[in-house]
């Protein structure tokens, strides 16, 4: 117990005495932690957005209003809900049976009209659907087919339109009018976000390496300034661990203070900049990012761990017998 107090006392005493190198170490740690604290949520947000986009990707199968004989296929001619016809139900089970299909959602003509009307209201535009004459609904019924993975979109699509006798893709049901997929859009979006992710990843990796080297260098300077003390300790018979502990305490304190300063700035940035903006920008308010408390704790532990280990490791060269 007495030893622990001795180590803590020695570590704090060293911090007081070598104030300038310690301050440099604290500032370096603070900058590193600040960068990490900004980059981790940013990386997570871009990741979350990409996944969100991937989730939205799917096929939309538009159905014909009437079949070749003129009988209605899709329900909902604008006159209230009608159950989907047998043809539609059959198509739905066919679609669900296709491998890699995660979900199949039926959007009737009425649903489609309601969605359009809703969207127009959201965008504060005139609800032109109200001007539609009486019972006429020009929107087609459709199926939204979501594949289990973006990469299976093509396979699902070709399963719905297998090659016919003449080799051209033919829909599996005569009720299908047209198929549109959001693959092109999705690929553009995921391409852009993955590029952003790469750039951010590389920048943060470089910054981290630079900061680690800086921390290591600062610690080395501080130890070099006290090499005489280390030499005396060695010569009077101190064990290597006995010599190492005060330096590790010093590193821990530097890490703790540096991380605390950085977390303070992060909290300030969050309260003053990010939170007010989040109300206006959907990207920032993405719910996938790490909770602030957890982030702070992780950063604190990383900073203290890196600084203490850095001190211990750097000291090795001075401890050769």
């Amino acid at each position: 117990m007495g030893r622990i107090f001795f180590f803590i006392g020695e570590g704090l005493r060293a911090l007081r005495r070598s104030a300038a190198p310690s301050l440099a170490a604290i500032v370096t740690v603070a900058i590193t932690v600040l960068l990490l604290g900004v980059l981790i949520p940013v990386l997570q947000t871009t990741n979350g957005k990409t996944n969100e986009v991937r989730d939205q990707v799917g096929l939309r199968i538009f159905l014909k209003d009437v079949d070749a004989s003129g009988a209605p296929i899709a329900a909902g001619g604008g006159n209230g809900e009608q159950p989907p016809s047998t043809e539609v139900q059959q198509l739905q089970s066919q679609l669900q049976a296709i491998p890699h299909v995660k979900s199949v959602e039926y959007v009737s003509k009425d649903d489609a009209l309601a969605i359009l009307s809703e969207r127009l209201k959201e965008e504060n535009r005139d609800d032109i659907t109200a001007q539609l004459p009486g019972s006429h609904n020009p929107l087609p019924a459709s199926f939204n087919v979501t594949p289990d993975d973006l990469s299976n979109l093509g396979a699902v699509r070709s399963a719905i339109t297998p090659p016919g006798p003449d080799g051209t893709p033919t829909p599996i049901s005569p009720a299908i009018d047209d198929i549109s997929d959001s693959r092109d859009d999705a690929e553009k979006i995921t391409g852009a976000t993955s590029a952003i992710r790469w750039v951010l990843g590389v920048i943060s990796a470089l910054l981290l390496v630079a900061s680690l080297l800086l921390v290591g260098n600062t610690i080395r300077l501080s130890i070099y300034a006290r090499r005489r003390e280390v030499e005396v300790m060695r010569l009077v018979g101190a064990t290597n661990w006995f010599i190492r502990w005060p330096f590790m305490v010093e590193g821990l304190v530097c890490g703790l203070v540096g991380a605390a300063v950085a977390i303070g700035f992060l909290l300030l940035g969050k309260e003053v900049i990010v939170d007010p903006l989040a109300d206006n920008f959907h990207l920032i308010s993405s719910g996938d990012t790490i909770a602030f408390g957890k982030l702070a704790l992780v950063l604190l532990c990383v900073a203290m761990g890196v600084s203490a280990t850095g001190s211990g490791l750097t000291l090795r060269r001075f401890l050769r017998i």
């Binding site: 007495g2 005396v232 300790m233 060695r234 010569l235 018979g237 290597n240 017998i321």
Partner: protein, 248 residues
């Protein structure tokens, strides 16, 4: 030491087939010109250097076979006084001595008991709160002796303890070492102060070019019963140094 040879990287020979034996409780001088291997010899004794060939035995144990982990234990059993004192400038006199006990894990009670004793022995009891840069060269050297001896090691090595000090101060240091030797501690003193060596009338081992060129008693041994004060008075008389007011 048995046929100890130390060749430094680069080919410089520090010690060449040095064989010597120092018995428990002896007071031995190691003399020779600069670069003759005195400091190399001291460094091999505390395993700061490992010999290229030969054996260094302390209390019957070959220290070159000690695992690295055991080296701190060895050093705790050997007090070392360095020519450049190696004091910690940021600590006061008391803390410099206490430090040697703290690093070996001594209890607070032990530190409180032993440090004042060691400081009294070297005559620095009234300077406990001073810092090394507030002390004279002789006082700093005595502080260094106190730190080396506070743990009551069976062997005390002193590398040029009187280097750069005036004769009177040198006698003071020798007086302290003599006092320590009288407690039963083996003392090995490295010096090139020939006059001092001759007057001390102790065993002298002379090194030159890394070899032992002489190993004999200088003059006749004085009686073991000579008190520390008598010893100092005799040295002052023989060296023609004024007997200033007693410093210790």
């Amino acid at each position: 030491m048995r046929k100890v040879t130390k060749v430094y990287p680069g080919g410089h020979v520090g010690l060449e087939r040095v064989s010597l034996r120092v018995d428990r409780g002896e007071f031995v001088f190691l003399v020779g010109p600069t670069g003759c291997g005195k400091t190399t010899l001291i460094k091999t004794l505390i395993r700061e250097l490992e010999p290229t060939e030969g054996e260094v035995l302390i209390a019957g144990r070959d220290i070159s076979t000690l695992p690295n982990k055991a080296v701190p234990q060895l050093r705790r059993r050997i007090g070392t006084v360095f020519q450049d004192f190696k004091l910690l400038p940021s600590r006061n006199v008391y803390d410099n001595v206490a430090y040697a006990l703290q690093v070996i894990g001594a209890s607070r009670g032990e530190i409180r008991r032993k440090v004042p004793d060691a400081l009294r022995l070297v005559g620095l009891a009234d300077k406990v709160k001073s810092f090394p840069d507030q002390l004279s060269g002789g006082e700093q050297q005595r502080l260094s002796v106190a730190r080396a001896f506070v743990n009551h090691p069976p062997l005390l090595l002193a590398d040029e303890p009187t280097g750069n000090l005036d004769p009177n101060t040198s006698i003071g240091i020798m007086q302290v070492l003599y006092r320590i030797n009288r407690t039963g501690t083996t003392v090995v003193v490295v010096t090139h102060d020939r006059e001092m060596v001759d007057k001390m009338r102790r065993r002298v081992i002379a090194l030159d070019g890394g070899r032992v060129v002489r190993d004999q008693a200088a003059g006749t041994y004085t009686s073991k019963d000579e008190s520390t004060r008598e010893f100092a008075t005799r040295l002052r008389e023989e060296m023609g140094v004024d007997d200033e007011k007693p410093r210790y």
